[in-house]
């Protein structure tokens, strides 16, 4: 057979681990480590929503299969709190599981998804994994990533639409939005969301609204885009970053008001991993209890925002409006004579204990950027890691 032992052309288009080239250097770190490369959170989840809180005595059968759409009580409670029909809710393996299932349900091979850049590094590979084509849309103002750079004025609705519009083709099927943004920390203004929703409607596009950082908006609340365009918006949410449960793989998607849509998304999710874990769903249900989730989020938000602000101030960047990341232009510290200047810079960071994510995982143009997560380690560790970066950038 000619195909053996070839691998699928689909998987060949997907990005591999960006850290495998760095793994041996990371393993060799002596002294303190500053692991600010992973998008994760350092706070243990709320008491009452930890695995140790769920016993077989209280929850017989808690290790058995749940229904593939999700634990009925969890689906009901999500629907009640979100004010949507329970038939629009699908519990998923975090937002990753949600987007994989949505992409698989909606995209024909070759269909295109507009992805504002810089973006969440995993997202384009998810689109590719089902045969879709992610289309990079330079979207956020690169001046905002430059330490000590001029403060840029907020994006206007017309600018936002213009940036997206030039990438629309006959194959465009969806517009991905992620606000608060990983990795830029930008929160899109209500009038920008409305303009983009109008644009999507005019072009008959789905809106894929990734709202996993909704609880970590450090400014005024913004009505989600789903309220503007419920007929075309898939909204995803996750207990991962929101509640310290990234390793428990639980989140959900609210599908648009389109008959039968949840069934299609469920089919993809079920054939990729069957269901979200049942114990994790019990934790999620506990979190939705207002005595458990919200007080914890209040504390987490204060801690994360303070860490983000300190990091931004130290790096002379705009303070993050939301989320868990700073995206930093490190041009001033790169050496053009290096074969791969960014890689060499990441190594210099690692040699001082600091691990950062390469910017090009968030888009091809970002060859001179890094992503820094300010929630992946305790605040004092983040502070010391940021000090290292500041020194390497010679910001003092």
């Amino acid at each position: 057979m000619p195909r053996h032992p070839h691998v699928s052309p689909t998987v060949q288009t997907m990005p591999g681990s960006v850290f495998s080239r760095l793994a041996h250097r990371i393993a060799a770190i002596e002294g303190e480590r500053y692991p600010l490369h992973v998008g994760d959170t350092w706070m243990e989840p709320p008491d009452g929503a930890r695995m140790e809180n769920f016993s077989v005595a209280d929850h017989p059968g808690m290790h058995c299969y749940p229904p593939p759409v999700g634990h009925p009580d969890l689906v009901q409670e999500i629907a009640r709190q979100r004010g949507v029909d329970p038939a629009r809710v699908l519990v998923t393996l975090g937002a990753t599981g949600a987007w994989h299932a949505v992409a698989g349900a909606v995209l024909a091979p070759g269909d295109e998804v507009l992805v504002p850049a810089p973006y969440w590094p995993l997202f384009p590979g998810i689109v590719r994994s089902v045969g879709g084509v992610p289309v990079d849309v330079p979207f956020y103002d690169p001046a905002a990533f430059v330490p000590g750079g001029k403060a840029s004025s907020p994006m206007t609705p017309a600018e936002a639409v213009a940036r997206v519009a030039r990438h629309v083709t006959e194959r465009t099927v969806a517009l991905y939005l992620n606000s608060p943004s990983n990795p830029t920390g930008v929160v899109l203004a209500p009038e920008v969301l409305r303009a983009l929703a109008e644009f999507a409607r005019a072009h008959g596009l789905w809106i894929w609204s990734d709202e996993v950082y909704e609880l970590y908006n450090y400014g005024p609340a913004v009505r989600p885009v789903s309220t503007v365009a419920p007929e075309r918006t898939f909204s995803t949410f996750s207990f991962s970053k929101a509640h310290g449960l990234a390793g428990c793989r639980v989140g959900y998607v609210i599908v648009p008001e389109v008959a039968g849509m949840r069934d299609q998304v469920r089919k993809m999710a079920m054939h990729a991993a069957f269901s979200a874990p049942r114990p994790s769903q019990l934790a999620a249900l506990a979190i939705l209890d207002r005595s458990i989730g919200p007080p914890w989020v209040t504390r987490a938000r204060a801690a994360y925002q303070a860490a983000g602000n300190r990091a931004a101030d130290r790096l002379r960047l705009p303070r993050p409006a939301g989320g868990a990341f700073l995206f930093v232009d490190v041009s001033r510290a790169l050496r053009p004579e290096d074969a791969d200047p960014l890689h060499s810079f990441l190594i210099r960071c690692i040699d001082r204990g600091l691990v950062l994510a390469p910017g090009r995982s968030s888009g091809a143009p970002y060859t001179h950027h890094v992503r820094l997560c300010f929630t992946s380690a305790a605040p004092d560790v983040v502070d010391r890691g940021v000090d290292v970066l500041s020194e390497l950038l010679k910001l003092d």
Copy 2:
């Protein structure tokens, strides 16, 4: 855009829920229920491998992301116990997650996988979810499914190869094997596995060996096919049925001795759901401790085998050689005048509290069969459910 709101042609080829048409009838059951339709297990997992056994105090960070390939200690211990290189082990979201990732890594769109029938209902949809084509191979002797039928002689190696060989085309890429089998309970003899491995080698096919019921082989041990053809065998294992952890979504795949193969499979797995849950991986690691897993399996195997034997005897079928299922030809109870005789029969079962899976989910020819899981409820419940089926089949 012409595509909105259409769904993907890929997902349209995938089977939906076979129980949605029956859901309202199942919900309306009064009196005792016999839920023998789901492939699940009734025993709570071993003490020491339950979520309540893992605390944040003992396992700081236990709710954070694990590495996408799996918790390093778990990968190492699996490799040690299986006698393989750790670089061939990928921890997955059960066997479902493993097959989705393998299929995505190996199959180009349109590539074919040979699937001996009757088969695990979820499997063909997994192949379709990545654009592959599952090819039904009538494989197991249908006489063995007929209550009171003649005992059939075991399949010879030549018969096994002949049944598979007639379905090979230029697009065939893999041969799926599942021994012990869901749903037939058959364990393939060593000489049959060897012959099929030779056949796969001659045709340059991958072997996809689904060994999730390996610990529930009720007869003599059989050396797995991976030992015969390590260069082409993907083997999957799961803690789901094996250890009562189906809802925890953890299993693993051992990839063939092909350079870089695990990376390709990992890419697919990572973009479908990121990783197996970290708490579930702690449970899996505990189970591999010989004081926790094996004694529990000894008890579970005895209980499951006894329940399977009682069910088979009552239904006048061959006793299962392994696994958790009986596949039953219910022709004698179908009414040809019904519009959908099997559906009507399933309804008659439900009206007596008994829920069974339709045989056609295991292959198109099985329009007059049902699948019964004898491990999904406590033995006395299974016994009473089997009594109902026996009465409807008028076997007394």
